[in-house]
Symmetry: C2
Subunit: 205 residues, 2 copies
Amino acid sequence: MSQNKEFKRGSGTKSKILNVARNLFSLYGYKGASVRKIAAEVGIRESAIYNHYKNKEEIFLEVAREIFSSPFSLSSDEIKELALRGKPFLHKFTMQYKMLTFDKKNENMFRLLMIELMQNKELREQFMSEFHDKNIKTLSEGFFTMMQSNLIRSSDPMMVAYEFISTLFYIRLQITILKFDSNSTNHLATQFEKHVDFFWESIKL
Amino acid sequence: MSQNKEFKRGSGTKSKILNVARNLFSLYGYKGASVRKIAAEVGIRESAIYNHYKNKEEIFLEVAREIFSSPFSLSSDEIKELALRGKPFLHKFTMQYKMLTFDKKNENMFRLLMIELMQNKELREQFMSEFHDKNIKTLSEGFFTMMQSNLIRSSDPMMVAYEFISTLFYIRLQITILKFDSNSTNHLATQFEKHVDFFWESIKL
DNA sequence: GTCTATATTTGGATAGAC
DNA sequence: GTCTATCCAAATATAGAC
């Protein structure tokens, strides 16, 4: 097929715009990243941008969609199997969370999320459903299984999940802030693992 | 009772500017709150603003200073006394945190903090020292005392403090988001108390 | 201290030539 | 598809009259 389609990460101008925009939005937010700066960094004139996107908003929306496209989710079967072994479930979940925290692209997207969270209602709603509810659901399924198997003390699985995820989020936020200013995250590097240890000691029977 | 102009410290136009600016900054962030809008809401022309403040930045800095002026801090004696009783220490600390979460002015300042956190290096540093370190210090003092008194299981007090504060922060963030969109916070209203209960069960001996 | 008027810059967006 | 040229709006800020 000689018709050359655009590759996802291809070298077409459009995807170049997207890459630059993603970077600038995650650094300066929606208002701070001007179409001018984007065009300049892409290496074209502002007007040329509008051959690829209707307007600035459209570029942002395409970038924003990636924020919640995080790859990780465990199948219901995986959850059950791991949960039956107790702590390994928490460990696996946490290590996936840690990976996202240190992954360059996800790091940028997380920063963008934090920047725009209080400015964009849709992002707030997605934060609640995609970031929070989804994780609570996965975790509480695991905790429920553990309670049934008498691996952990009995209580409300959702509540336990809430307690668990909140600390992961806080660690991620701190690491993101420190890395943004190129500060050392050494003292937080093992915080995820420590959290799993502490938490498991807190709930195990 | 005829003088009804001034509610708080200082008065006249300057403090009115500050009040309006605080409100607009906390709604729209630094970039989103224009001098124009501030002047309009105050009821004067833009140019008149500059008789009171050198520039926009100066207004923002005065507002931003309030973010970390949260009233609550326990004296070292209070901490020790409360910590010797165990759970009441956690309860008191948490209730103060909850009060700040639902206090209108602190709610606005917290939103502003979240908006500007990723855009302002100084705010990030203050967040780390004032929001995080200060709380960790207070809490770990309490946990240390509890460990010495064999009220709770022995481990790193700073680590325990980290686990405790992270959930408080997450609850606060969620409530702030929900309230911003005028959504119900009913299901989170007692989350603070539940956290204390859960956590105490996790560490008590 | 506030106003009007204005300077200056920045940013989003379009028209039309190539 | 990209460029030049241009428009328009909004924003920060200053000068000088009252």
